[in-house]
């Protein structure tokens, strides 16, 4: 059998290596271009112990996002944010030692052609890509192009995804498998959805790729609980609400540190 770690791309290798030490993975999200000095948030995320960072490229019609990330996108676009600008700003950054994963809607990927888009990501130092409106059965045209450019295309799995399709998603996903914890849009929730545990358990049955739970994870308690099922968490709306409320990089660093701590505590517990 081939060694999955050697066959994997850089994002996946990084996440596997960290997971294999027993660490709970943390991937915070920021909307690119949300403030003039938005890249400072990336530094704060890295300093708080992020294992990967998701950078949203804002789209005018984010059909899978709740109000918080919609507002963040609108704010960024109103400031003049664009794919080109955000990637240019990323290119100017020193290496944070944390893989960057872009996320956006398929229209922006297609706009200048998938090849040009993936090449631009690569030049900006981005290693992975999440496209929430590109389900696995439509992904053929992007998978090869992304792979050729060295971009790991992350696929999403949902609580209603049937098991055979879950196997296909897990097999074709690169970097990690993004487990959508609930039937809904992004946004903070009072509790971790009950569907999260079953979904991650079903994904685990078919892959040993890292599995990150996202959508609705907003508090240390929820992160701790998510960690019981998955390899780690994606935290988006809880970060962006704070940013929209005026929180600076230091505030976010403190918030993420509480999540980091929760994940670390959970992994010390006997399982």
């Amino acid at each position: 059998m081939t060694n999955p770690t050697l066959a994997a791309g850089a994002v996946e290798r990084h996440l596997r290596a960290r997971r294999d030490t027993g660490r709970g993975l943390l991937m915070p999200y920021v909307t690119g271009g949300i403030t003039p000095s938005w890249t400072d948030y990336l530094r704060a995320f890295a300093a708080a112990g992020a294992d990967a960072i998701e950078v949203g490229l804002p789209f005018s019609d984010p059909t899978l996002d709740g109000v918080t990330i919609q507002q963040a996108g609108d704010t960024a676009l109103a400031r003049g944010a664009s794919t080109r600008r955000i990637l240019a700003e990323l290119s100017g950054m020193p290496d944070l030692g944390v893989p960057l994963v872009a996320s956006t809607y398929y229209n922006l990927v297609l706009h200048d052609g998938a090849e040009a888009f993936c090449a631009a990501l690569r030049r900006a130092g981005v290693g992975g890509l999440i496209v929430p409106d590109l389900p696995v059965h439509e992904a053929d045209e992007l998978t090869d192009v992304a792979a050729a450019a060295g971009i790991e295309l992350v696929l999403l799995a949902s609580p209603v995804t049937p098991q055979p399709r879950l196997a296909e998603i897990s097999c074709r996903s690169r970097g990690f498998v993004y487990a959508v914890s609930l039937m809904g849009t992004t946004g903070e929730r009072a509790a971790l959805a009950a569907s999260a545990a079953e979904l991650t358990e079903r994904i685990r049955r078919v892959t040993d790729r890292p599995v990150l739970l996202g959508f609705g994870i907003s508090t240390p308690d929820q992160a701790r609980e998510a960690r019981r099922h998955a390899d780690g968490v994606v935290v988006g709306a809880a970060v962006m609400r704070r940013v929209l409320d005026g929180a600076g990089p230091d505030d976010l660093r403190a918030f993420l540190a509480t999540l980091r701590q929760a994940l670390d505590q959970e992994c010390d517990r006997p399982r």
């Binding site: 789209f59 019609d61 664009s82 706009h111 409106d133 389900p135 995804t161 849009t185």
Partner: protein, 401 residues
């Protein structure tokens, strides 16, 4: 004249406007670009629709509802005085005479019946002009379902009468404050809501847009316009088939339903878009609301806002099958301005005694502009779908006239 490509000879391809190819494709357009959480429900709708459409029992039940509730068949009206003035022979397919006042009821009765067959108890819909919302509220009341209708705040202001009608029919109307506060944003919001409601709700999409199977399914439910008109033309016209078939295009459902009845004839098909919402005439390849099609976008790939006096045409994209018909040269897409549409509405009122919806007035405006020229030679026979009546637009018109 702007936007008008030279005519190609109509391409008669076998299977044009038949079932889409594998994976819901019309040429390179269409598909199911839905978030993973909606993929399974799209598959369920597809399966249920295929079964129902092949079931004479379902077809019979729908035909009966269309007859006894919606008032089908609708007449074909020769527009005598206007024809004389324009030098063409113009016939109007009178969707304005259906119950609720527009073609939207054809699609909604089909989807509502399908929803009950699937065991759903609630309909979700987006609406621009409010016609689709009213039709959805009506069908829900008729079949004992709940209805939730998403509508942009701007449209709620300009279509107040329809908002009241929906509420009177027992529907919940949810104002949408995002983005341009019109149809595109209402559609996005309806999709977001659907993700969390797939278990008990059916998303009743109002035009030939959205993820597969919607563009195909909605066209099939609207095909009744074209099929009826084909039979009526055969009885009424010396030539049997009109030379031109014209309809307005927002998402494109009344046009698709009309064209479907004539795709295999030599009739030239013309879709008329609003100048400010010309997805087919000026859009660029993209993906939005679940399908690959043509959308108005800026240089960064952001979808731009449409602007039309007709709320039902205020959509920056077009259904994938229209994009395909355009590429094939089988149909041609042209645009008219707000002023031309208003002028056409007044002219129809004064010559034929019919106040059309501002959407439908766009189709007429092109006929008026083109009649007698190279694009619509004198003496041609024209079938135009009058998609709706103008009651909902009287307050808009009152401000202008």
């Amino acid at each position: 004249m702007r936007d008008v490509l030279p005519w190609c000879e109509p391409v008669l391809l076998d299977g044009t406007m038949g079932e889409p190819r594998a994976r819901g494709r019309f040429g390179e357009y269409g598909g199911r670009y839905a978030p993973e959480s909606l993929v399974e429900v799209c598959r369920e709708v597809d399966e249920a629709f295929r079964e129902a459409w092949a079931d004479p029992g379902f077809r019979g039940a729908l035909a009966r509802l269309l007859a006894v509730h919606a008032g089908r068949p609708t007449p074909l009206t020769p527009a005598g005085r206007l024809s004389e003035a324009l030098g063409v022979r113009l016939y109007l397919k009178r969707e304005d005479l259906t119950h609720t006042g527009s073609h939207k009821i054809n699609n909604v009765l089909g989807q509502a019946l399908l929803a009950t067959r699937m065991g759903r108890r609630r309909l979700i819909a987006e609406t621009g002009a409010g016609q689709h919302g009213v039709a959805t509220a009506t069908a829900a009341a008729l079949l004992g379902l709940e209805a939730t209708v998403f509508m942009g705040e701007r449209d709620i202001e300009r279509q107040a009468l329809n908002v009241f009608r929906m509420r009177m029919l027992g529907a919940e109307v949810v104002p949408v404050t995002a983005g341009s506060r019109t149809l595109k944003d209402a559609t996005s919001e309806a999709m977001r809501h659907w993700v969390g409601a797939t278990g008990d709700s059916h998303y009743c999409v109002g035009s030939v847009v959205g993820p597969d199977p919607y563009p195909w399914m909605v066209r099939e439910f609207q095909r009744v316009i074209g099929d009826e008109a084909r039979g009526q033309c055969a009885a009424e016209l010396r030539t049997g088939v009109p030379d031109y078939v014209v309809a307005c295009v927002g998402g494109g459902s009344n046009a698709a339903g009309t064209f479907a009845g004539f795709a295999d004839t030599p009739a030239r098909l013309v879709g008329v878009e609003a100048e400010g919402g010309a997805g087919a005439a000026r859009g660029r390849l993209g993906v939005m609301h679940g399908c690959r099609s043509l959308f108005l976008q800026d240089d960064d790939g952001q979808i731009t806002q449409a602007h039309s006096i007709a709320a039902g045409l205020d959509y920056p994209g077009v259904g994938p099958e229209h994009a395909h018909l355009r590429d094939l040269g089988r149909a041609r897409y042209v645009t008219v301005t707000d002023d031309e549409a208003v002028g056409a509405a007044v002219r129809l009122a004064r010559t034929e005694g019919i106040v059309p919806a501002l959407e439908s007035a766009h189709a007429l405006a092109w006929v008026i502009r083109a009649a007698g020229g190279g694009d619509l030679p004198a003496g041609s026979t024209v079938l135009m779908t009058l998609s709706g009546r103008g009651d909902k637009d009287v307050s808009t018109l009152k401000e202008l006239l």
